[in-house]
Each structure stands twice: as structure tokens, then as C-alpha cells.
């Protein structure tokens, strides 16, 4: 809410060209649609939309604070009040689920085009907010804005091909990749394409480096940490994981498991279908597991860490001012504390001063018993239980070792969202908390 006329004057020029670009983009699309002579109505719609964008562009270029198109203040305030880690995570999950369930609708080109225009328009309107613009237009964060659009586009393309293939397979036809398997020569076709791409990307990076210089900060100091202190954008998912776990787990074990799990995938996969072509219906389990791990547990966490985490790693709404003095009341409690103190109303088991090492270890084990039992049940009892219920077919087809590897990888992957939910609902810090040996889970 720190918008003022000065900022709007600065951003007006950019917004003017932004809306002009939107108008040109839609005018071209309308022209192409009209030339195809199939759907003249849609051509008309996009022509009108382009005209509206031109109007917005001229309003923005006027530069007067009252005229620059922006979201109303009450809406921004509402969004800020509502947004939080819980709503963000549940919202993205719901959004991705809807996109998946109704994929047949969303892969239509006109639907996708409408959504793209809506996203771009919403971003343009939000950009008139100073707090939003200061985060989104920060040179560090521009690539992540690009990533959101690029990732959406490529996911859409793959989903579209998968939907087409699924329809064809249902009709007994071969997938599109088998029909259009025209061979292309490496030389000159591929090499020339690569050369052109190389030149274009180099030119683009040069222009980017000139117009968006990297931000220089004060000299580094071991006793001064910038606030907020953020990892490189591609590690922001990791940084978000570290909020919920001990470093050894979220920083070492989970990333290694991600890599080893990806390497193990071809050996765990027993489904011979979907080889060499896009398909969702034929490999639903693999598709959903991968997309959950990638889109939900990696990409949305990167977006969360980039745009919504501010000073002191507090959560901030998209239009909220990043105040380092924002107070967030939190009091995280370990499971032993909950169990012994809150539930049984007894002090935590503590070894007497100067007790033997064995007594101390025994006391620690007794103190952590609830967490250890829960964890053991989760990792040791749950896989066999799943094998005889939900994953009965999987177990039969994969065999014991492959099934156990798959089940454990999956449970460890799910430990992240589970821990997040536990943190939000019960303020749980650690299930097992043994700071004596730096062992917390």
C-alpha cells in the first residue's frame, strides 16, 4: 500500500509498452484466425480485446496516477489478508488438480489463449502496485516470472499431445508420434536450428544483461546476513523445505533422494506403455507421481520462496509491503513436549546429572519414543500395509525389492507435505528431537 504518484510515473512507460505488446499479440492472433476462415467470431473477439489493450496502453502512457489501470485497493487488501502458506499450498494443489481433471477442456487452443491473456492482463494490472512491482521486476526475479510462463506453456503442450494420443489409443489408432515419425537429418537440419537458436539466445542474453544489470550489494560479512537471505532461485524450493526440517534431512538426505529417485525411476517402472509418445491415460500413476513431485513440491515452492517470502522468512501477500518488523506469532513445539508435558502432564524424562552414557541414551530413547514409534510405523509398517491394500497389483508386478524401494521413496517424498501440514495444524517442530546428537526429524 505504498503506491504513490512517483512510482506510477516510473512504471507508466513500461506498462504502456506492455499493453501495446499485448494488443499487437492479440491483433496478430485475430488476423491469423480470420485468415483461416473457420471461426470468424473468435477473430472478432480477439480484435476487440486488442482494441481494449490499446486503450489501456494509452491510459498507462498518459502517466497520470489516476488513469494508470490498476487493481482496486480493496481487492489487493483482500488478497493480502487471505494469503498465507496454508492457502497458497492448498490453492496451488487445488488449481493443479482442476487443471489435471479437466485437461480435455484446458488443452483447447482458444481456452489456453484466453487463460494466457488473463494471466498477462492480471500481471499488468498488478504491476501498477509498487510492492508487487518491486518484487516481480527485481532483476533476480525476472527469470522466475519467465519460468512460470514457460513451464505453463510446455506443460500445456505435453498435456495436449497426451490428450490427443489418449483419444487415438482409445479409438485403436497409433499415437501421433508413430504417425509423424518423419526423420530429420542431424546435419544440416538440427545443427542449423541449433546455430540459429544459439545466436538468438546469445543476443537475448546480451540485451538482458545490458537492460537488467545484476544487483550489487554491500560487501559480504560473516556476521551480517541480508534480510531476507535467499538462495539462488533454483534452490528456493530447498530453502522452503529447510523451514520444516533439520538441515541434514532437508539439505542432504531429501535432495540426494530426489536425485537417486529420479535415477531409479526407469528400474522401478514396470509399465511398458507410453514409450516414445505422450500419454496420460496409459501411465496415470507415473504421471501423477512425477507431476506432484515436480510441479507441487518443487516449482510452487520456488514461486513461494521467490515472491511470497520476505524479511525474516515471513510470509507476505503479493501486494504487501516487505516490512522486517512484521510479527508472526509462532510457537513450534516438539512431539516429546506435546506427548509428555501437554498430554501426560509430566516433565520430560531427563537423565540425572553425571549419569552413565547408557542411562543417558536410554533416557533419550524413552523421551523420543512417541516420535520414533510413529516414524518406524510410517517407514516400516506402512509399506507392507500398502502392499496388501492399495498397491496390491504393484507389489505383485514389481516384486519385493522394487516395491519396497518405490514405497519408501514415495513415503519419503510425502514426508515433506505431511510435515508442512503438521506444522500448520499442530505447530509441530520435530517428531524426533535429539539435539544432543544433532538428530531431528
Amino acid at each position: 500500500m505504498h503506491s504513490n504518484g512517483l512510482f506510477l510515473k516510473d512504471v507508466a512507460g513500461f506498462l504502456g509498452s506492455y499493453y501495446t505488446a499485448l494488443a499487437v499479440m492479440n491483433a496478430v492472433a485475430a488476423y491469423l484466425l480470420w485468415k483461416r476462415k473457420k471461426e470468424p467470431g473468435q477473430a472478432l473477439v480477439w480484435t476487440v480485446f486488442a482494441g481494449v489493450m490499446m486503450v489501456l496502453a494509452s491510459l498507462a502512457l498518459s502517466g497520470s496516477p489516476g488513469l494508470v489501470p490498476a487493481l482496486p485497493a480493496w481487492l489487493r487488501g483482500l488478497v493480502n489478508r487471505l494469503s498465507g502458506p496454508v492457502l497458497y499450498t492448498l490453492g496451488t494443489t487445488a488449481l493443479l488438480t482442476i487443471l489435471f481433471v479437466f485437461r480435455r477442456f484446458f488443452v483447447r487452443p482458444m481456452v489456453a489463449w484466453t487463460i494466457l491473456n488473463g494471466m498477462l492482463l492480471l500481471m499488468g494490472l498488478s504491476m501498477a502496485d509498487e510492492n508487487f512491482a518491486s518484487i516481480v521486476m527485481k532483476p533476480d526475479n525476472v527469470p522466475i516470472v519467465g519460468l512460470v510462463f514457460l513451464l505453463a506453456f510446455f506443460t500445456w503442450v505435453a498435456t495436449k499431445q497426451a490428450v490427443v494420443n489418449d483419444d487415438r489409443i482409445a479409438q485403436g489408432l497409433p499415437p501421433m508420434e508413430k504417425v509423424n515419425d518423419e526423420k530429420v537429418l542431424v546435419w544440416p537440419d538440427l545443427v542449423y536450428t541449433e546455430l540459429i537458436c544459439m545466436i538468438a539466445v546469445s543476443a537475448f542474453l546480451l540485451a538482458w544483461a545490458i537492460f537488467l544489470p545484476a544487483p550489487l550489494e554491500e560487501p559480504a560479512s560473516s556476521v551480517k546476513t541480508p534480510n531476507p537471505s535467499k538462495a539462488p532461485w533454483y534452490f528456493l524450493g530447498l530453502q522452503e523445505m529447510l523451514v520444516y526440517f533439520d538441515p541434514w534431512y532437508a539439505g542432504v538426505v531429501l535432495p540426494s533422494l530426489v536425485i537417486f529417485g529420479l535415477m531409479a525411476m526407469p528400474y522401478l517402472d514396470f509399465n511398458k506403455k507410453g514409450n516414445g509418445y505422450y500419454s496420460i491415460a496409459e501411465r496415470k500413476f507415473s504421471y501423477l507421481t512425477f507431476q506432484f513431485g515436480f510441479l507441487e513440491l518443487w516449482i510452487t515452492l520456488i514461486i513461494l520462496g521467490t515472491f511470497l517470502r520476505g524479511p525474516n522468512w515471513n510470509f507476505f501477500g503479493p501486494f504487501e509491503y516487505w516490512s522486517p518488523y512484521k510479527v508472526e506469532v509462532l510457537n513450534n513445539v516438539d512431539l516429546p513436549q506435546m506427548f509428555w508435558v501437554n498430554l501426560l502432564d509430566r516433565p520430560l524424562p531427563r537423565a540425572p546429572q553425571g549419569a552413565s552414557a547408557l542411562t543417558q541414551v536410554g533416557t533419550i530413547l524413552l523421551r523420543e519414543a512417541p516420535g520414533l514409534i510413529l516414524l518406524g510405523a510410517y517407514l516400516l509398517v506402512l509399506p507392507p500395509l500398502l502392499a496388501v491394500t492399495v498397491f496390491r497389483g504393484f507389489f505383485a508386478r514389481m516384486g519385493f525389492i522394487r516395491y519396497m524401494i518405490m514405497a519408501n521413496l514415495m513415503l519419503l517424498m510425502l514426508s515433506l507435505p505431511l510435515k508442512m501440514v503438521l506444522r500448520w495444524t499442530m505447530n509441530l517442530k520435530y517428531l524426533v528431537s535429539i539435539p544432543e546428537f544433532s538428530l531431528n526429524f
Binding site: 556476521v223 546476513t225 541480508p226 529447510l242 533439520d246 525474516n312 522468512w313 518488523y325 546429572q353 517442530k429
Partner: protein, 390 residues
């Protein structure tokens, strides 16, 4: 052998040897036939009777039952003859022509039984001179000699006249194992197919060909190489010695950097002033930038203490900030929070902040010693040197 797969040299040799082996066993007298091969055209003077008697006759009556040259009968039964069989046939004819006269007595066409009867005993001695005489005019492209050459490894490809004697010698030496007697010949002939396939499947041990030529060639070059290794090797030795010495010195030089002459670090023991400078409830942050220490005067467990907290988050080592309004230390990296006494209460930090040793020095000032740390979870905060009571 008609596989499409390309055969390696070893396989070709093995196959050739197998064929030859078959041929040899089928031939009545392996040494004799090999020897006789090149010698055949030349031998008439050596054994005129045998030749004149058996030669034309035996060629016609190839299927005589007692004949040692069994395989001659094979083509008739098996249709198209294989190379091995053709060779065996040719050899059998020659063998008969010269040494196969052991069968002569039974032959009705034999004109002189007496002369023939003496033959078996004389077969071997007679063959030897023939061998000696053979090379002079022997056909150099003879299959047996080529194979023998290949086997001996003397020279791949056709054998020249000059090389033939040696080839024959090796051949003789090698085929000493199978008995030249007709009975054995017959016995092996019956087993021929099995031995053949066996030979194809399990390649026989490589001939010991390399021993002689290699040794011969090696002798010449040992000296040259020896000279070379003397001349060049010493240069290499000098080079590598110099390299390792340089590398060692370089590492030592690098290690020297670990012990700089001047240490710009603040001392680990330092004084922060008198107790009175730290009023109750105050977190002093002015020593953070230089020493990485908060000096706090606070109530801990009912006792008013002055203690020094280390400014390193116990989660991942960032430097938290003291938020006066909220009375807490808050880490900017992952949002861990600590109370004024250093105990963690929010975010992922698993344990309280650490304390440094603190005491009142001789001059009455507070002295902090960063070389000693005290951790709450290990019960070290009860240590009297971890705080100064007020």
C-alpha cells in the same frame, strides 16, 4: 561355419585347424600325408614299386573296407563334399600313392604283394627322405603346407619354397600325437563329426607360435630399446622427479598460506566493559559486527545473569537479528526464532543459541572468551563460567 557373423582371426584359425584336424584324423598317416604332399610329384624314385603298384589302382577302388583312408567314402554318402573332405580325399589318394600301401596286400590289383608287404615297415623311413626332397620342387600353394604355416605362425599366407621345410618340420612335430597306424585312423574317422564340432565349439589352445619368432626378433630390438630407455628414460625420470619436487614445494608454499604472518582476526578474548554498562533486560548488539556476540543481561531460571550469546543460528548458521519490539532473535534465512535467553521457540532451529565463556577480569571488566562454547542441550549452561551473576 556358414554363420553371417564375421569371424575373428582366432576363430578362423580355430576353424581351419579343426578342419585340418578332421582331415588329419581321417587321413591314414598324418605325418606321411603332410610330408608327402609337396613331395608327391617328386617321389617316384624313392619308392617306385609302391607308386607303380598302388597309385592308379587305389585311386579307383577308394571304398575298400580295410583301407585306412576312410573319409574317401564320405562324399558318396553326404552329397556335396566339404572342403575338409575334399582335402582328405586328395590326401588319402596321395597317401595311398605313397604310404598307403599297407592296404596293398589285400588289393587284388596289386601286382607285387611281396614288395608291398615290406612297405608298412618302410613307410616312415621312406617318407623322411621324401620330405627332404620335397621342398625343392613342391607346390607352394598346397593347402596342408599353408595350414601348417598358419599353425606354426612362421608366416601367414602361402608358403614359399624356402619356408616349406620348416613348415613341414613343425607340422611333423605337432602331428606326432596321433598314431600313423591305419587302425587309429579308422577309429578317429568314425568319431570325426564329433571331434569336428567339438573343435569348433571349444577352440583349441593357441599354438605356441610366438615363442620362437618373438624371441628371435626380440633379441635384435632389446638392445635398441635398452639404449633408448637408457637415453630417453633417464630424461623422463629427470622430468618426473623435477615435476614432483616442484609439486611438493608448491604444496608446501600453499600450506604456508594457512599460517599468515599477520592475523587480522579480532582476538578470541576481549573485554566489553564493566557490568554496570549492561542494564537488566538489555541485549547489547554493538559487539555483533566485530566479535559476533550479543551481551545480554537477563533473568534465566530465576537468576539475573550476564551472558554472551554466539550470533550463529543453530539451524544453518545465518546471523539472526535482535528484534527489540518483539523481544526475540529472528533468523532471516528460515525464520527460526529465539527468546532473549537464546532458547529456540519457532522455526526449524533444533537447539538454543550457544554461549561463550564470560568472566570478570582482574580489572573488573567483563571478559569474553570465544574459544569456549556452552550448549544448553548438553547441560553446559549451568557451568559457572558460562555467565556472570548480577
Amino acid at each position: 561355419m556358414a554363420e553371417k557373423k564375421k569371424m575373428s582371426v582366432a576363430e578362423i584359425l580355430a576353424a581351419a585347424r579343426a578342419e585340418k584336424g578332421g582331415g588329419t584324423s581321417s587321413g591314414a598317416v598324418p605325418p606321411a600325408d603332410a610330408v608327402a604332399g609337396p613331395a608327391a610329384p617328386q617321389s617316384p624314385p624313392a619308392d617306385a614299386t609302391g607308386l607303380s603298384a598302388g597309385g592308379p589302382g587305389s585311386a579307383e577302388s577308394g571304398a575298400a573296407p580295410e583301407r585306412p583312408a576312410k573319409p574317401v567314402a564320405k562324399p558318396a554318402a553326404g552329397g556335396r563334399p566339404s572342403v575338409a573332405e575334399i582335402m582328405a580325399m586328395a590326401r588319402a589318394k596321395k597317401g595311398e600313392a605313397e604310404a598307403g600301401t599297407g592296404a596293398a596286400p589285400q588289393k587284388p590289383s596289386s601286382p607285387k604283394p611281396a614288395a608291398a608287404a615290406a612297405k608298412p615297415a618302410a613307410a616312415k623311413p621312406a617318407a623322411k627322405p621324401a620330405a627332404g626332397a620335397g621342398p625343392t620342387k613342391a607346390a607352394p600353394r598346397d593347402t596342408a603346407s599353408i595350414l601348417a604355416a598358419a599353425r606354426s605362425g612362421a608366416k601367414p599366407g602361402p608358403v614359399t619354397k624356402a619356408e616349406a621345410p620348416e613348415a613341414v618340420k613343425t607340422r611333423l612335430a605337432e602331428s606326432a600325437r596321433p598314431s600313423p597306424r591305419p587302425e587309429t585312423g579308422r577309429a578317429t574317422a568314425t568319431h570325426e563329426p564329433t571331434t569336428k564340432t567339438a573343435a569348433l565349439k571349444t577352440a583349441p589352445p593357441m599354438p605356441t607360435r610366438s615363442a620362437k619368432p618373438a624371441a628371435k626378433k626380440g633379441e635384435d630390438e632389446t638392445d635398441r630399446r635398452g639404449f633408448l630407455s637408457m637415453a630417453v628414460g633417464s630424461f623422463m625420470a629427470v622430468g618426473f622427479t623435477a615435476l614432483s619436487v616442484t609439486g611438493g614445494l608448491f604444496s608446501l608454499g600453499l600450506a604456508r598460506f594457512l599460517f599468515p604472518n599477520v592475523l587480522a582476526e579480532p582476538p578470541s578474548r576481549f573485554k566489553v566493559g564493566f557490568k554496570e554498562g549492561f542494564p537488566a533486560g538489555k541485549v547489547e548488539t554493538k559487539y555483533v559486527a566485530q566479535y559476533g556476540v550479543w551481551v545480554v543481561n537477563s533473568d534465566v531460571g530465576g537468576q539475573q545473569q550476564i551472558y554472551a550469546l554466539k550470533t550463529v543460528c543453530t539451524h544453518l548458521g545465518c546471523t539472526p537479528n535482535w528484534l527489540e519490539a518483539e523481544q526475540k532473535f529472528k533468523c532471516p534465512c528460515h525464520g527460526s526464532g529465539f527468546y532473549k535467553d537464546g532458547v529456540n521457540f519457532e522455526g526449524p532451529a533444533p537447539r538454543p543459541l550457544e554461549r561463550y565463556a564470560i568472566k570478570i577480569a582482574d580489572d573488573g571488566q567483563l571478559e569474553i572468551d570465544k574459544s569456549r562454547g556452552f550448549q544448553e542441550e548438553l547441560g553446559q549452561w549451568n557451568d559457572p563460567s558460562s555467565f556472570v551473576p548480577v
